[in-house]
Assembly symmetry: C2
DNA sequence: GTCTATACCCTGATAGAC
DNA sequence: GTCTATCAGGGTATAGAC
């Protein structure tokens, strides 16, 4: 199960992009890490941007969200806290998945510099999650499981700490420090948040 | 009240750093925007890194937190929701302050690439805020104003949406779209959060 | 598909005239 | 304090041999 040169180039490129950003990672470094000459890269990709586009289109959706939109949300949302636990678990999973983590790092570097990355962040990541969460909270409110409020507001308030904790896990792992403390933040968030919104009649 | 060349260099450098990052902003671009030759830069700064260090040491603390630590926290924390409102207002203020916004953008670009920036983020930004907030929540709990919980957990849960909303305001403003919707997120966060933790006996 | 060789541009930085 | 001139190094990319 050997990797083709093209796959190796993509792997190395993602690795370097996630450490140094798009501009900071040169064709020279990529090819040297793969073990070929610069010019050999151009047998597999038209140019540097072509490598970038391949990575982005391959990884953007899968690295930012594990949620498939065809799941029966109506049913799973009625599980209340368990639903939130599953949602957060998928977040945590991505924070500890190698490729997803690298893509997340890369996205964060490019976010303020690159319009395309901002669009990916806003649509594939933020809006996609908010939509699912707000629908789920709406259902929970209808079922009288939680206090009534603005479902979209509740979705934002639930999601933003998850994002922050994922970022924090990533940051801590860069400096190779133990991220076990940060890994518990996800669960604590669920407990705290659910305790706040649950309807204890 | 004309700006010295040195001040102009710093202004232009911050502007370009916030748009393209440290590597992406060249001495050539900085000098051309200031209206001098590349070599003239070196009469004011030893090298490119010297410009970076000057910006960081000048702006890091003031751009990340407006809170002076010598305020009497004991008293202000007892104001409860008003305290949180003031805290969030200072956050919002920085998101709309020109230099602070640029430094924030720059910090976000470098965060995943630069150990020094991570330290600044973790210490000057994150830990500093968590310390104040956890102390404030602890006092509020003692005063029976809010439900009893882990003050540090509460601080994190309160702070992380603020960070996220500040980032979102910055992102929206880059693409010159109207950020008025995002600007209301701070107040909504306070209302939602306070409603959740307040002790209504 | 990979190599050598090469073209050409941009980078940070220095020397020395004014 | 600013200029011109210049440098070495690294950047993307192409041509052509094997």
């Amino acid at each position: 199960m050997k990797k083709t040169t093209k796959e190796q180039i993509l792997d190395v490129a993602l690795d370097l992009f996630s450490q140094k950003g798009y501009k900071g990672a040169s064709i020279r470094m990529i090819s040297s890490k793969v073990g070929i000459r610069e010019s050999a890269i151009y047998n597999h990709f038209k140019n540097k941007e072509d490598i970038l586009n391949t990575i982005v289109s391959t990884l953007s959706s899968s690295s930012l969200s594990l949620l498939s939109s065809n799941k029966p949300l109506e049913e799973s949302a009625k599980k209340g806290k368990s639903f939130l636990r599953e949602f957060a678990a998928s977040f945590k999973l991505l924070a500890y998945d190698n490729k997803s983590e690298k893509f997340f790092r890369f996205m964060m570097i490019e976010l303020m510099q690159n319009k395309k990355m901002r669009d990916i962040f806003m649509n594939d990541f933020h809006k996609a999650h908010l939509k699912i969460l707000s629908q789920a909270f709406f259902i929970m409110m209808q079922e009288d499981m939680i206090y009534s409020s603005d479902p979209m507001l509740m979705a934002r308030e639930f999601l933003s700490p998850l994002f922050f904790y994922r970022m924090q896990v990533t940051l801590v792992k860069i400096d190779k420090e133990n991220s076990s403390i940060e890994s518990t933040l996800f669960e604590k968030h669920i407990d705290f948040f659910w305790e706040m919104i649950v309807n204890n009649k």
